[in-house]
């Protein structure tokens, strides 16, 4: 106790701060940083979960970069990102922009939009999977048939499958993005709009020159968050293509699914770890790029 009493106020503060930080630091160390470090280590090794770990140097990486499936998967992942992020951004902004102005059943509508975000991705994927079935089971195809429009192969076509899986993923994330956008819209002082009204500029000008620039921090946040989400897409794909995960012909397979299969179907841990490291680097680079591009100069 004497030791503690002799400390200066500043030293006591530091002692308390570290005291409180100890648990989260320990938790993060064990749960996050140790596995991360270990994964990087394993990516340079050969390991089948049971046997010895043996050093292989860069073998896993050279194998990865010469694997055509990896490049296919790499491309798929970016298609999810480049299609999903802008589409979900625009849709959620349009909904938030109009919902913000709606008084009628405002709370109820907001709840409806938020509901998918709270729903289990697995359940949702299976419901959408049912929507996509051919007649007489699938909802969408039944609807098309009743209008006399030919059937669409949603999940069994190499071109349609990826967008078909992306749609529920976008839909599921909307609720969250709408809430964030609405908070951003609320934060803009009303007098900005009133001043613009007195100056007599068009609604379009107000949107492009006042609302959107002032929403920039919100947009940055949503872009980074949803990008990370789409780069890590897994459960929607896995559940909607269970008989042949990532199919047909790897056309919907994202990186995370490939990692999963390499690790837990082929038990090639080293190879899976190398893929994980690549995914990590991709996430890092994309996030840093977005932050840099969208940050205020």
């Amino acid at each position: 106790m004497k030791l503690y009493r002799d400390l200066t106020i500043r030293q006591k503060q530091i002692a308390w701060a570290w005291g409180f930080l100890a648990i989260p630091v320990l938790f993060y160390g064990v749960i996050r940083f140790y596995p991360t470090g270990n994964a990087i280590l394993i990516s340079f090794q050969d390991w089948n979960l049971l046997g010895e770990r043996t050093w292989t140097g860069l073998d896993n990486y050279t194998k990865l970069f010469s694997d055509p499936i990896f490049w296919k998967v790499f491309k798929n992942t970016f298609v999810y990102l480049l299609l999903g992020t802008p589409v979900s951004l625009v849709i959620s902004f349009v909904i938030a922009y109009h919902l913000d102005k709606t008084r009628f059943m405002h709370g109820f509508l907001r709840m409806l939009y938020f509901l998918p975000f709270m729903t289990s991705a697995v359940a949702m994927a299976w419901v959408w999977r049912w929507f996509y079935q051919p007649v007489p089971i699938g909802l969408f195809n039944n609807f098309l048939a009743s209008l006399g429009i030919p059937q669409i192969n949603f999940l069994n076509s190499t071109t349609n499958a990826l967008p078909s899986i992306l749609a529920p993923a976008v839909w599921a994330g909307l609720g969250f993005q709408i809430i964030i956008f609405m908070a951003g819209l609320r934060a803009i002082p009303k007098s900005y709009y009133e001043a613009a009204r007195i100056d007599g500029v068009s609604t379009w000008t107000v949107l492009w020159e006042i609302t959107l620039p002032l929403l920039k921090p919100t947009i940055v946040f949503i872009v980074v968050f949803s990008s990370i989400g789409f780069l890590r897409i897994f459960d929607h794909v896995f559940n909607m293509t269970t008989q042949n995960p990532g199919g047909p012909l790897n056309s919907t397979k994202p990186l995370v699914l490939m990692i999963y299969q390499t690790a837990f179907s082929s038990f090639d841990m080293g190879y899976a770890a190398a893929q994980t490291v690549v995914l990590f680097l991709v996430l890092l680079v994309v996030s840093l790029l977005q932050l840099r591009i969208l940050k205020d100069r």
Partner: protein, 352 residues
């Protein structure tokens, strides 16, 4: 430049009437200040004139044209907001130029107008800066500049000085007044600060609970307040109010004791309130009917405010700055009869 006429203006929100039949004429080039406590309807009136709120009934005319159903942009007005409403992501030039966005004038002419407004406000060197690089007073000037560049018939100011510190407020007050003298446009200015109202206005409109209490020049509202509310709202510290009753021969018997004989005709037998401003009330023997012990002294240098205890609470008076009476000292206070205001105790209206 133009006049503004408000006739029987009523505004209701849901079922609550917040403005009750306001009537006012503002002449061309006049500087009119709306003043009153918060919630009195002064800002609502301004927003109705601006067209940001819809008129429930009555009419608003600007330059002889009823504008009730015109969009704000078509009313030939400009407004300066309390938080300035200047856009943080635009330069000063773009902010000032925003007022011209809807105008059809050629680009070169718009540019010229922005430059000349900036020069008038002394902001030329700041034109390419962003608002976050400006001081509070400079931001205020940008907001005024954006209004000026439109060259409107009527300027509307909604408590534009309340976000500034005291020193800057005094300075901007003077600048706005100077600007008005130079540009000569019609200005409607809303504030809750009676000092701002007194110092800037050609005419003051004092409002309370959605009613106009009095309209008049600063001197009129100070020297001839129409009722007890105006009397107490204008002037600081506010007017002392002492209840009393009119006796025979225009004499008023005060509830604190003592009687005063007035020259003016007063309705006999009526309960009244005698109002005396602290600056008119001094220790001395002239008409000295109020007597009590000094409770508190507030030295201001050139004079000292003394709080004198009476049966109706403390009465504030002004004493000499060098030799004020001491705490606990019993003093007699008096004022010139012409500086005493008599109000009806029930209605609060000024009598004679």
């Amino acid at each position: 430049m133009a006049n503004l006429v408000i006739r029987d203006l009523v505004k209701t929100y849901d079922k609550t009437e917040v403005l009750h039949s306001i009537n006012l004429e503002v002449e061309d080039g006049e500087f009119v200040v709306f003043v009153g406590p918060s919630g009195c309807g002064k800002s609502t009136t301004l927003r109705l004139v601006a067209g940001l709120e819809e008129v429930t009934s009555g009419s608003i005319e600007i330059a002889g044209r009823v504008v009730n159903n015109l969009e704000p942009k078509d009313r030939d007005i400009a407004m300066v907001f309390q938080n300035y409403a200047i856009y943080p992501h635009m330069t000063v030039r773009k902010n000032i130029g925003f007022g011209l966005r809807s105008s059809k004038a050629p680009k070169a002419e718009k540019e010229k107008r922005i430059e000349s407004v900036a020069e008038l406000l002394g902001m030329t060197e700041y034109l390419d800066r962003k608002p976050n690089q400006l001081s509070g007073g400079q931001r205020q000037r940008v907001a005024i500049g954006r209004a000026m560049v439109r060259d409107p018939a009527v300027f509307l100011f909604d408590e534009p000085l309340s976000n500034l510190d005291a020193q800057l407020r005094t300075q901007m007050r003077l600048e706005i007044k100077k600007l008005h003298q130079r540009v000569g446009s019609t200005i409607v200015f809303v504030t809750h600060d009676q000092v701002e109202a007194m110092t800037m206005a050609d005419r003051i409109v004092i409002m309370k609970d959605g009613h106009i209490q009095q309209v008049g020049s600063p001197s009129e509202v100070y020297h001839q307040p129409a009722n007890t509310f105006v009397a107490q709202f204008i002037g600081a510290p506010s007017m002392n109010m002492i209840p009393g009753r009119v006796e025979a021969d225009n004499r008023i018997a005060l509830s604190t004791g003592g009687e005063l004989a007035f020259q003016r005709p007063l309705p006999q037998g009526r309960p009244v309130i005698l109002g005396i401003r602290p600056e008119d009330l001094h220790p001395g023997e002239v008409n000295s009917v109020i007597e009590g012990a000094v409770n508190v002294r507030e030295p201001l240098g050139h004079e000292t405010l003394i709080y004198v205890g009476t049966s109706e609470g403390d009465v504030i008076a002004k004493a000499d700055g060098r030799t004020p009476p001491g705490i606990g000292e019993v003093v007699k206070l008096g004022a010139a009869l012409e500086n005493m205001h008599v109000f009806d105790a029930e209605s609060g209206e000024a009598l004679a």
